[in-house]
Symmetry: C2
Subunit: 295 residues, 2 copies
Amino acid sequence: MHQLTEFLKGVTCDVDARLDQLIPAGATSPRTLHEAIRWSVFAGGKRFRPAILIAVGEALGAPRSTMLSTAAAVEMIHTYSLIHDDLPAMDDDDLRRGKATCHVKFGEATAILAGDVLQTLAFKAVADDAGLSAEDRIRIISLLAEASGTPYGMVSGQQLDLDAEGNELSIQEIAEIHAQKTGALITASAVCGAIIASAREEEITVFRSFGEKLGLLFQITDDLLDVTQETATLGKTAGKDVSSRKATYPAHYGHVKTGEMAKTVRDDALKGLNDLDRDTVLLRGMVEFVVSRNS
Amino acid sequence: MHQLTEFLKGVTCDVDARLDQLIPAGATSPRTLHEAIRWSVFAGGKRFRPAILIAVGEALGAPRSTMLSTAAAVEMIHTYSLIHDDLPAMDDDDLRRGKATCHVKFGEATAILAGDVLQTLAFKAVADDAGLSAEDRIRIISLLAEASGTPYGMVSGQQLDLDAEGNELSIQEIAEIHAQKTGALITASAVCGAIIASAREEEITVFRSFGEKLGLLFQITDDLLDVTQETATLGKTAGKDVSSRKATYPAHYGHVKTGEMAKTVRDDALKGLNDLDRDTVLLRGMVEFVVSRNS
């Protein structure tokens, strides 16, 4: 795991540097807005989606420099969704990554605007990325918009999740919510890495499938962490899913069976990499990272 | 003005048809989300920004069919901003275009998501527009992101407006807020029409300047309407700007002097069209339309 730890550290460093270039400085007017954006973007996130994107792209031979704007864009989309998810009208969370959430620190109106404009900055980052062909930029923007939008993406998943609160859901419905709300953007991250590396269509299919499994694994382990970890370790309010009766795997299957599911999905994700004639050490490491993380 | 009335009717019809194609049907899951989007998008807006875009493009010889997705995208960005602007944490408005606002009808959480995903759908509409070259799509996405974003766009203008509430502002500060909050997207609409028509750079400059003047005129007349019209005519709560002490021209200059300013800006916008060797009847009509509208 040493190689993976070094890789994740490097990704965080490189992606953060790019985010710092793409987001207006805190001192730029309007200061409140840019400080609020930076508060949430640089709150110590794991940069998991950029790491998947870059791990896939590097496995396929793409230079990291060609992937940083897209990786930063994915992280900006993810962060915008967290800022809006935390709002009083949504999950009403005070704590995120161990810090006050954006609206607690800067007020609701500014938090709404900060989330809005992070989405704008994400698409602008890809559109302005002179290191990619216009065709690749268009393809990536369309893919990210689909994965973060509706009718089968992050926002539609959030709406399904809202609609589901307080209802008993089938496991198919839970899986559907997770696939849209969390899985779609994780999958798109893997596919973006493959597109930038000019992968063949068969390889893109393999990485789409890998991304889907990794996304599912991520959500299962996220649900497990919510019931097993304490708030201090998690950096966000623990037990939140249970108390708000959100659709989760442990709520449906119980803790033990959900743990077994995680192992099955992990094996499945690793198996999918077997057919690739590439160095998949880091990709395997990413799978283990998702399984063994504690926050 | 008969020709202009016909033009505006045609634009509304064509742009609405394209919006209907680009936005998932109300019956598509998640229904609440898509019904909320459609509630706000088809609330009887004037399609002013699409009309500018198309008037510019047609003056330069572009076929209307090449402009409809971009025109729809601009309208989606505008509508997302209205939905979020109306939220309780922002302007807290119950009425928009004579109908209940999105959060009043569908709840705050869904209104936040509806606004979020309208922005996503806007960028996707341009990225997927097979009628434009990849280069033009990239240029348009970048331009729209800049105009609707920060540090000099719609969202930064909204933040400046928030920060200004309750303060005495200089006229420069008021102009700056308006230029960002309203002017930037109107200007971008004019420029998009010119880009799609493959205009020369000097022509793009003329239309950028025309858009800036039209945007300023639009905001001045908007401020005037807020103090002179009643809620029923306006379709939104009248007197709102004064009661919430927002930065407006009439609040600073009084009603009469603001009316004179509107005339000056109008003359200036018309004069800018003189050097163009194009049929500018509709563009002149758009200027008069902004001056003489009553809602």
